[in-house]
Symmetry: C2
Subunit: 348 residues, 2 copies
Amino acid sequence: MDLDSQLPHILQKRVIAHIEDDVFYIHNRRRYPHCDEFVACSSPEEIADCLKAMVTQGGGVQQVVLTSMIYIARLMDRGRVDLSLESFENSMRPILEARKTNTTARRLYQRVAEDLSRHPQMLNRHDIVPFVTEKVSAIEDEFDRIYDHMSDLGADLISDGDGVFTTCFAEHTFILSLLKARNSGKDVTAWVPETRPYLQGAHLSAPSLVQSGIDTTLMSDAMAAHYIVEGKINRYMSAVDTLCMDGSAVNKVGTLNNAIICRHFSLPFHVFSVSPDRTKKTLEDIEMEERDPEELFVFENRRITAEGVKGVYPAFDKIPRSLITGIITPKGLYAPDQIMDIFDLEDD
Amino acid sequence: MDLDSQLPHILQKRVIAHIEDDVFYIHNRRRYPHCDEFVACSSPEEIADCLKAMVTQGGGVQQVVLTSMIYIARLMDRGRVDLSLESFENSMRPILEARKTNTTARRLYQRVAEDLSRHPQMLNRHDIVPFVTEKVSAIEDEFDRIYDHMSDLGADLISDGDGVFTTCFAEHTFILSLLKARNSGKDVTAWVPETRPYLQGAHLSAPSLVQSGIDTTLMSDAMAAHYIVEGKINRYMSAVDTLCMDGSAVNKVGTLNNAIICRHFSLPFHVFSVSPDRTKKTLEDIEMEERDPEELFVFENRRITAEGVKGVYPAFDKIPRSLITGIITPKGLYAPDQIMDIFDLEDD
């Protein structure tokens, strides 16, 4: 199956990242919907720089990592990268290390790298591109099935008349859940915080939801409680960047504020995760990214505050499992304290 | 006493509003600190339009209303407004009705109008300007004493090492409290949410605090919980736009989010109010202002989202008294349920 036909423009795989004439193109989420354009990259380092600058982010990083593996295979085929596993790893390293908190993409890379190490005979000009392309394509298909199943579970949670709020850009699982709920006849509205400083809510979530035919309202990051009191919002759903084995999670800064507000009003707070990171037992194991506060200070080349003011931009929040109602995974919907048992160490 | 010398630039009375050659000048808070400029008004309607557009806001509205009374008196002196109480009221009406939720300025106007009705002999060209000017000047002096006293109480609440967060621009009482705490040798830091859509935190609070020598960090509206968990923030303080007789309050949208977060972490949530509005028994009596969502959609002249997305901009939040730790008033620091008794109906 290919989910792309059901997805809004910016979530389609070849929009997020594609290769054309040996140039790697990344869709520029930072300027969308104002501009609909790509950033061209000519080396793994340039791809990594785009990820650091958040040209794409969230699940976009995963698609860039997958497409980058095909790109590196092509460079090997052209003789620009040595035909060895070590060179493959060295080329991928800057891309994998560009953003450190979400580890999903790194784990997908490890699967392909392990396949390559088991089949070293494929490391030749004739086979490397088809081999990597087939592995990546299989992962893309697997994720389409996973997203399709998880959004069935998400749609089931939504009741007729629900107002759902979120944080940042929750992408496939979130948008498909709302779409399927609406297609099954439920009246559902989306309430999107703009998500400063990069405005992923305004730039990405709200336009994608509207393209999917969902009644969507943009609000500032400070308005959720206001509309919960008014009865407009009664549920929270978001993907998370990392799920720990103990059922706690890491997601875009602002998610903790929203989780606390849900708890205060006894609203359900559900998150989507394709799998926990088995190397992260608890939130203590997470490496948290601190971004440059200049990104908060400057908007559209205009400085918003005076010299002498300090700034902060933590990329992510840690969400204790006590604030999470349920976690939607490819294996089903679970309470946080079930994650360890369901995703045991033997199983993948 | 005149507090102005202790206050940052934008809180000084003649900066907020002044009259020069029959033109009424309002300091443009919307463009500060990027530009430090005034908007010139030539009629009560133009002054009202500035208030509606939030050229100044919060306590700035109060100073504009006070200075407007002198302006109208001058128009009476010039023969441009009839020398009658009815004309005085008609001229002031658009200014008083420009923003409906904060009623403090309206109550100050009523005090001067009542003085005028008790002294109708002052409604003549010779006496009207000195009479109104003296009344306004007495109110300004009274507020200087009130702010000085309330900020003594605020400073007493702050402990050495406190990180204080706020909402929007809490002006005199908040800034003087932090300043006095620091001057008494306490180490105090301010954590300022930028306060979208108008960025009063970034434009007004943070620069004013830095001018006052306070260690100040700007954050997005979604980051408070993050820094509470990190132990950087341990207390909330803000002025409120309206205090009800039952001890509940109305303040800038986002204040309810912050109050809930404080409650979750058991942090003190203190507010400043010069007096309750005796016509507002509970939050049910408050007329809430809804602003044009276009103000959310356009950020520094750039449209931030796609066509088809709906928007909201409620100007204020209602804060139930259960979330308020204490209220700092000119009469002292009180629990919300003490307000009714302390400000009884006989007393002013």
